[in-house]
Each structure stands twice: as structure tokens, then as C-alpha cells.
Assembly symmetry: D2
Homo-oligomer: 345 residues x 4
């Protein structure tokens, strides 16, 4: 059994991780770290866990964590990097769900997050935890920077066009729609039910941090600097992201040809489901699951691909991907505890 600690267990990403791990046959949850709910049972904070997992939350105790094999840090951006160096010293492997260890270059982090990085050497060592792109490195990593939600959805939706050179690196536009769990459990006027039901909005236009993460990975794939327009939107669903991605094509393609490029690129990827021509992703198909659904259409009038990709932001965009990374790290079948259909209903 893999002994696991979850730090930040009572946030939305944290509790989804607890949900997935509580169904994992090879994992025992040893530590549930929660600043706000220390001393309370997780099943008192989230009563859906009554009779399933009734363990008590605690403030982080390095001694307890040191007896674990892996620690997941689902802490606010910035807070992760304060605790992770100490975690690593205890010998546990760390999968960090924040933005703190996702970057190749410390300057990019510091520019987009507006703060100094306190452990740039660890940032250099860390592996970007997107298995579909970095599987081999993940297997032997000590510290994994688990990708962002918009990021995972947008990168996986775009990569085959750049890798195949079918798509141009200029004029890439990602228009993403996210559920409200993406805003976290904290309170603000914008997450009040009456302020976000029956409405939708764009936010942080041309300014969202995930832009930099997407650009990093697309640039690596393209072998040149890629800059994109990324526009996040909030829509009234709890879970899920749907990204619509516009990529100009270097020559004419049909929808069938583009679909073939995607199917070929992802032919060995269990968690990527490329839709047949004429079929497009819908959020309900992936909610609660670790799948990425991708559909592509050639707009032949304009020699442009329109790609739609969809993930559950707190599963493949956070907790599920973290479990997938853990499975790789501990040489388990990558699908363990993750090969389940989306909720749909």
C-alpha cells in the first residue's frame, strides 16, 4: 500500500483527491492536512464521506508526513513553495497541485505570479506532470508540478496540430469556459449562487496565469516561441472546462484528415478520447472522470481548425491527473482508480 498525505484536503481539489484516493485499491490515506478544519473529521466537513472515510483532519505534522510515500499539496499558489522543500527533506515524493513548480524558467513564474520564487533549484528539478507529454520523466521524479486545469485542456487540444506541423503557431486562440469549482471554495461575491446562476462572463482577459503555462508547453512542442490569446470564462456549472481552440492551418485539410492526425497522436493514450468526425465533446461526458475529450473541425472556407477539448477541471485538471502521476511514480497501472465513466447525469 502506498501511504499518502493530502495537504489542503478540504479545498475543492483536495477533497476530489480524497474521493479518488478513497477508491484506490493501492493507497491508504494517512494524513488529511487542513488548516481550517484541523480536529474535525473529514466526514463532518464533507458529509458525503460519512461511512466511507471518517478520518480526522490535522494541521501538517512533518513527522506524520515523513512516514508517507507521497504527499499531495493542494495548497494556494505561493503557499506550496513554502512547505515543499521541507516535505522533500523527509524523503516523500511530492505532487504539487499549485502553480509553484510548473515552469521551466523561474523568470516566467516570477513574472506571471508576481512574486520571487524561494526555491528555484527545486523548480529546475521538478517535472511538469502532464503524462501525455512527459511520462518518462514523471516516473522517476521526486517533485511533480501538476498542471493547471485550463492548461491541461488547452495543451492537449492543441499539441497534435503543432507536432504535426499542420497548424500555424501564429494566431492561436483559446476560448475556454469553466465551471465554478475552478474558482475554489473560498467566498467572494462572484461565486454567490445568485450572482453566477443564469449568467456567464469572461474574466482576466489577456491576463490569466495559465496563458504562460500553455505557451511554455506549446513552444516546446513547436520548437519555437508560441504566444496565444487565452480567454477564460465562467459558466454556471460546477465542474468541467470546454476549450474552443482556433488554429490556422498551413495548408488545406478536411475534418477527416485532422481527426486522423489527432487519433494517431493519441493512439496509445487511454485518457484522451478523440471524437469521430461530426461529434464534439460535451462537458457532461467527462465530469467526474479523468478523460480528455477532443473533437476537431476543419473550417475549409478559412483554412482553419476549430478544436473543442473538454476535461473535468478538478479531475484531469487537478486531482485525477495527480493520481495518474502517482500511479506512474509508483509503477502502477496508470489507469488504476481512474478508469471510470463520467457522471453524465
Amino acid at each position: 500500500m502506498i501511504k499518502a498525505a493530502v495537504l489542503g484536503a478540504t479545498g475543492y481539489a483536495g477533497i476530489e483527491l480524497v474521493r479518488l484516493l478513497s477508491n484506490h485499491p493501492e493507497v491508504s490515506i494517512e494524513v488529511l492536512g487542513s488548516q481550517s478544519f484541523a480536529g474535525k473529521k473529514i466526514s463532518d466537513v464533507y458529509p458525503n464521506f460519512r461511512h466511507v472515510l471518517e478520518k480526522e483532519c490535522s494541521v501538517v505534522d512533518m513527522d506524520a508526513v515523513s512516514k508517507c510515500d507521497v504527499a499531495f499539496t493542494a495548497l494556494p499558489h505561493g503557499a506550496s513553495k513554502d512547505v515543499i522543500p521541507a516535505l522533500l527533506e523527509t524523503g516523500v515524493k511530492v505532487i504539487d497541485l499549485s502553480g509553484d513548480y510548473r515552469y521551466d524558467k523561474v523568470e516566467v513564474y516570477e513574472k506571471w505570479y508576481g512574486q520571487k520564487h524561494s526555491s528555484p533549484e527545486l523548480l529546475r528539478e521538478s517535472v511538469y506532470g502532464l503524462p501525455e507529454l512527459h511520462r518518462e520523466k514523471i516516473k522517476s521524479a521526486r517533485l511533480i508540478g501538476n498542471p493547471g486545469c485550463y492548461t491541461t485542456c488547452s495543451i492537449l487540444g492543441t499539441v497534435p496540430l503543432l507536432a504535426s506541423k499542420a497548424g500555424s503557431t501564429k494566431n492561436i486562440i483559446v476560448d475556454a469556459k469553466s465551471g465554478v469549482t475552478g474558482a475554489g471554495r473560498g467566498l467572494s461575491q462572484q461565486v454567490h449562487f445568485c450572482e453566477c446562476a443564469e449568467t456567464a462572463k469572461a474574466y482576466k482577459v489577456a491576463a490569466h496565469r495559465h496563458t504562460s503555462e500553455i505557451e511554455q508547453e506549446l513552444s516546446n512542442i513547436a520548437g519555437e516561441d508560441v504566444m496565444i490569446s487565452f480567454t477564460p470564462h465562467l459558466i454556471p456549472v460546477k465542474r468541467g472546462i470546454l476549450s474552443t481552440i482556433y488554429v490556422n492551418l498551413n495548408k488545406p485539410y478536411t475534418t477527416e484528415e485532422l481527426t486522423e492526425i489527432y487519433k494517431d497522436y493519441y493512439k496509445d493514450e487511454y485518457f484522451v478520447r478523440v471524437m469521430d468526425p461530426g461529434i464534439l465533446p460535451e462537458i457532461k461526458n467527462i465530469t467526474g472522470s479523468n478523460f480528455v475529450d477532443i473533437g476537431v473541425v476543419a473550417d475549409e472556407r478559412l483554412q482553419r481548425a476549430v478544436v473543442v477539448s473538454s476535461i473535468d477541471n478538478i479531475v484531469k485538471g487537478a486531482a485525477g491527473q495527480a493520481v495518474q502521476n502517482m500511479n506512474l511514480l509508483f509503477s502502477l497501472d496508470e489507469k488504476t482508480a481512474l478508469a471510470t465513466a463520467g457522471f453524465y447525469l
Copy 2:
């Protein structure tokens, strides 16, 4: 491995059954019966199943079913009883999700369903599949009448008060609120998104069929004829029922005392979670799970208990309960494939 057939696999109860069975370690799904989608893969009808279960749907083939150990019939009321006698003759055990085999007395069925029953002898043989009340009989049944959704929620919420004689059998009122999956997948004006978002309504007041099922079981427990007011409502959620139940008390009780009666009555029941005083069920805690959450409050001014019970109508109210019954029928741990937390998010 238990070989299972699901008839009516593409309705909402059917597909939820498929979801649960596809996660069941001891079951292989052999037949996916669907009149409307015969010849199509289940994953084309419900794309959330791509990469998870890609089996083809078929019209019902008795030969194929006869090689199974169990058949689940998730067919419309009335249609079940036309096919079940033939199914039983093949030797499979049958768990029927319709209303056709839930009654002790054929007259009650015929009155509330407005049709003759074509196999009254099977109705007599069938066992009412509510494990919390009829576990032993279920284990050796050949035909199980799986209870209705409103029914399960209302019966389990009321029984401890009648069994303990704390509650009066007069003036019992059940006010139930259900999600829209309860109306099934068929199309009608009332399930149009624009007609049922941002609204709520009562329907079939003093006339809903589940009334008769609830009265049957409560009368059995009370040892006298019990008649109740049952009012179903439609609220804009996909899954879940919340029943608020009003029972006059035979003498004064405190909330703590009533809670003790419930905790005691359900002390061995994994799927019934009695809330501590001051805490009440919420639908989100049970969505996607097989749990029944129950909270009780004593209205001391009026010597009346107000009980709130909640289940997922397509899990504990249909597919999950069917799996629980199957587990009993095949001597598996009753919790197999069902011991998971609700979705919450």
C-alpha cells in the same frame, strides 16, 4: 463472475446501472438490451462510456439472456410484466426496476396502475427488494421487485418511528422533492430545460402511484393500515430526492431521543446514515451514491417529528439498490461496488 443482462440499458435508470456494474469487480455485462438503440454501441449513445465500455446494444435475445445469471429489467411500468415470465423460464434471476412486482396484493397494483396484472402468481412470489426491511427474503428470491425512488426515501425515513411506536400512524405527511431524472429520458414539455430551470412545482398531488407502495410497507411495519399524504415535487436538479416527513408523536420526545431511535434502528445498516442532532441531509451528499441520509427534529411545541431523508433517485432509488439486491442474491458483500462517497461537487 456474475453474468448480467441489462434490459432497457439506455434509459436513465438503465445507464446508471451500467455505470455501477462497469465498476463492479464480480460482474461482467453480457447483454445491453435497448429497443431504441439496438446496433449502436452504448458508448455512442452515452459518450461518457468511451474507452470504458464499448459494447453494442441489442434487442432482447432470450438465448443470450439465458446464458446470464441475472437480468435487470429497467423497462417502463407495464412492459416489465410482459417480458419477465419468459425471462424467469430461462432460469435467470430477475431484478425488476419497474412497479410491476412490488406489491403484496394484486388489487393494489391494478387500482394504482390502472391495468390488469398478467402474472399475479409471479407477483405473489416476488420479493420487495428493500434490503433494509427484507434482506433475508431477498437472498433466496428468484424475482425481486426493486422499490421506487420516492418509496425508498420515504419508507426508510418513516419506519423507525412506527416500529418503535413513537410515531402515530395518523396524519403522516410526506412532502418529497425530486430531481428531473425521475421523469426519465423521454421528451415532454415539462422536462425542457427552459421549462424546468429556475422553477419548481408539485404534481400528481394525492394521486402518485408511489403512495400505495409506501403505504404497503408502512402498514406492514405498523401492523395496521396506514394512509399517508404524499406530494411529489419537481426541482431543478438532475439527481436526488429530499423527503420531508411529518409524523405526530405519541408522547413528547426531544430531537436527541428521536435521533437515538433512528440510530438504534439502523445500527447495522451501512447504507443508512443517521445524522447527529442539528445536522440535516442535503442532496449533494448522496448524489451518485447508494446512501440514505436521515435527520430528525422534534418540534416540541407540536409534539411532532419532522424527518428529512435523502437518496439519489437513480442510485439507492433504482440502480444502486438493484446492485445491492444482486450482491445479496449472489452472496457477495452487500457493499461491493457501492461503498463510495457521493459526488458532492
Copy 3:
């Protein structure tokens, strides 16, 4: 033109009042009182008002209010009674949307609100602002206690049965479902979109303050002390209340006969719409409007009436009723600015 001040203009009841008054041909809004947004334009706080009403909010200035004809106080319970005596001294008429001036007896207020009342003489003078019951007194009042939302819906749904002596005063049960605007604009975990979408719950069972208000009015009508069970629920809609009311009947009645009792009782009431037999209220029919929809069913098996009544909690349950009261107070047609259909969509 009637000069109006709205105190607490940026809460949900306040802003709905501003919406209704901005469409009122005989009213000019002179003061928009807001502690939190003083100095900001109302259209910056609620951008739906851009180009329609761009007036600045201010802290309450008694001088400005004294030049008005009427002041609406949409302040938190308890805060109203601190400011209203001073308001009345300036000579304006006051319509208070809080619970502070709704009671015949100061003891009832003090018991259910858990605080001393600082101006019991004004409480005695104040008129309960439910026009359907107290129209004549309202016309000449100086201080109106505008009824609560659950209250309006429940009283108007029950009164004809008690006034006609068809219904028993014992065993009255009101099971009410409310939209989230009822919880106000303030932040709390329970109003987070992800915590209240796709769920429902009961709260304050046997303990909600509106119980006392409903009992007061029903007792007045019945001519005896009436005590009820009142259970509020939160459902995932923004606006609207649906109350299901159970009243035992003193002798057998049909649905048609009960409907006749209601139609007769409300025959002169524009804002009360009694549904024909077989038709029941739905929230969408009243959202955004000042109507109360009522349907009644006789459960002949049990000699019990099941009544369903529905209002928009922030219109007929707050702002619309306040405008209706104002219309009466200033001898306008009671329907002015209120004779509009619900949103439906």
C-alpha cells in the same frame, strides 16, 4: 410625483425595489441609501441599471430623507428599528421590509428575534402590510411592517380554509421551498454556487422566525390560537417560493368545492390568481411579478386539503408588496407598476 428614499438599496430586496420603482410612473427615487457602496453609482454596483438609473448611493442623510414622502427600509432585522423612529420624526411615511414592525405583540417579537424591542409603542402603531388582509388600515398608516416572504406565501395560501371554517386549525403543516435570494446578498458557504447548485436542503426546522408571523395572522383569521409546523427549504433557483400546505378538513370536500372557496375569497384581489382544478402553481409563472398563485387539491381519501401557493420572494414577498403598500398609502391604483406578467423564461 412621490419622492421616495430606499434605505439598504444594494441588498437583494433593495435593488428589486429600485427596479420596480424605476418603472413606476408616479415615483421619483430621491435617496439610495447604502452603507457599503456610498459614493458609488447604483449602476456601478448593479450594471443592469446603466442608462436606466445612474444615481449615486449615499449613507443615510436625514435631511435628504425628510424631503421625501416615503422611505423604504430594506435593512437587516434589528437595524430597522434603530433608524425608523428618527425617520418618522421627519414626517415621512415608512414601509419597513424587516421583521421589526410586523407583530401585534412585542413579546412575540422578542421571543422569536431574541432581542428587546426599542420602540414597542411604534410596533403597536404599525400596520401589518398585507393588503389582501389589511387594506383599509394600510391606507392611513404611518408605519407599515411589510410581511416576510415565506409569510405572505403561506398566509394567503391558508386563509380561505380557515376563514370559511372548511379547514381545521389543528395539524396545519407548511412545507416551503425557497430560492437563494431569500438568503440575501451576504456571503456564506451555503450560498456558494458549488454548494447550492444541484442540491436542496431543509433548514431551521421547527425554528424559523416566519412561523410566528404566520401563526399571528392565521390566529386572527381563525379567532383562536393556531400553531403550525413550518419547514423552510433551499432549492437551486434564484427567485421564488413554493409552499405546500396541508390542512385537515372539517368535512368532506371535492377539489372543485375547495377551489370555489378560494376563488370566492379572492374574487376582488388582482394579485391573487386561484388556479382552476387540475392546475397547480409553478414558480416560473410568478418570478419577477407581484402575483400569488394558488392551487388546491382535496385528498378525499384523507379528508385533507393540499394547497400549493407560490410567490416571488423578492417581489410579492418583499419589494413588490412594498410598492403595493405605497400605492395604497398614496391613493394610487394599487396595481400601478405591478400589473406585469412573470418572467416565465
Copy 4:
């Protein structure tokens, strides 16, 4: 009083028109045409109209229509052109909400709608009913082709950039999110509550008819052929469209400069509200109202404008615009019955 006929009164656009006209001080609704509900009162079909408008629906009677001043045709695409020639012969003015009379060129209609046009001469005569672009022509028209919903939102969001030559005509991308009323009242699996709550999807990618309408108007403004990528999405709200529009800039601009271009272009337009820099439209601000909210951001890294525009699809995108056109046609103040704030809640 303007005598009005509404044909197709019981569809979603039709009933919203009835809602707006019933509040219009200068209009009397004389005819409510409905094939499906002829003989029923409109208030029986839409009970929100009880006590407000209880007129009976009828099949279209040319005699009755001929006594009207204006007929609104809210019929399915294709059906409008079958009835409109006869309507015009009676002498009424016609405002058509379908796509049948929106095109400058009959070939464009026939290509995108896949059918012959039976009255091309009327198509030529008809005026495109977007007051912000064609006000003068509308005033003297006999037949107005009322624009589509996506169309209105997208054109008004883009025009200032093309008119000012700030924006390039190449690479314009419109990513639009629509509420479910846009799909109409008819039944289909995709509008089932359980199929469209808690999800989102793109549809008709690179193939939606409104593309051609947007391109026509943008080309007219730009003075050259403009082709765009237009992607419609369905999101779980009832009303409202939010369009995110990407336009490459011909030279560097700041957000402030772009905002100035928009404010200047729309300085005399009451129904267009250009947001200040840093503020972006949200659907809730325009629901129920005739406003178009527009915000613009300069993505300086990419020399690209990101414009967000939002309308209520059944008001400014259908019924409200039709009333605005009627006001112009009959020399009323353009704002009559339309100068109201959005619902917000």
C-alpha cells in the same frame, strides 16, 4: 393605439414579444396567432399572463390581420416567406423574426438555408432591422427582416473596429455562448434538462447560418468581403448570449484607446452600453432587457482586440429589437416600453 398581430405567439420569441407589447403604452394586441394552441387563451398556455392578458389564440385570419397596423411574424425559418406576401397585401407593415428577409442577396439566403426563396423581390425590398446600423431605412420600411440573435450580438460587438479601420478584416473569430431559449420551445434530446444542465457544448461549428448574416453586415461596414469563424455554444442558462470576439489590430492600441473608439461610435445609442476599461459584460446584466453590453480589451502582447458583447437573445436578439423597430416605424420614441433594467436576479 397601434394595432398589432403576433403570428407564432406561443414560441419563445413570440411570447417574449407578447410580454413586451403587453407593457407597451401605445400598442393593443389584436391577434395572437398560434397553430398549436388555437382556441386556447394565451394565459392557459403561459400562466404567467393570467390577469394580465387573457386573449384567445387563433389560427391566422387574414381579415383580422388586415385591420392591424403591424404584424410580427415569429414563425420558423422558411414558413415566414410563405405567409408574408399575403400579409403585405392587406396593407400591414411586417416585422419578420425569421431568417427569410435578412439578406441583401438571394443567393446567400439560398445557400445557407438550403431552399429556394419564393419572393426574392420582397427580399430585395426588405430592410435589415438593426436600428444601430439602418435606422433611417427602417423608419420607412414596409417589411423588416429582424436580425438573428447571435448576429445582433456579434455585429454590434465588431463594427466599431472595422468602421474605424483599427481592426483587421482577416482572422476575425466570434466565439458565442447562448442560452437554451435560442433552441426554441420544440422538444429534442439536447434540450432535456438532464442533458443540458451542468454541461456545455459547441455545435454547428463552421456551419451555423448566422455566419452569413454577420459576414454580410461586416462586409458592408468594411467595404470589402469579410469572412469570419463563428462558433456557437450552448450553456445552461435560459436567456442570453455572450460573444467573445477576436480581432487583430492594424497597429498597437491600449484598452483605453479601443474603449474610446467604441464609446465614440455608439455615443448616441441608448441600447448600447460600452463598459469602462476593466469592466466586462455579464449576461445577468442584460437578461430581460433590450441592452447590448460591450467591453473591449487590448491584448498588447499580440496586437489583438478581445471584445465581449452580450445581449438577451429573445429581447435584443428577437422580440425587443422587433419592438424597437416598430417604435421607429410608427415614429414613437425608440425606447418606448424598452427602457428597463435587466433582471440581474
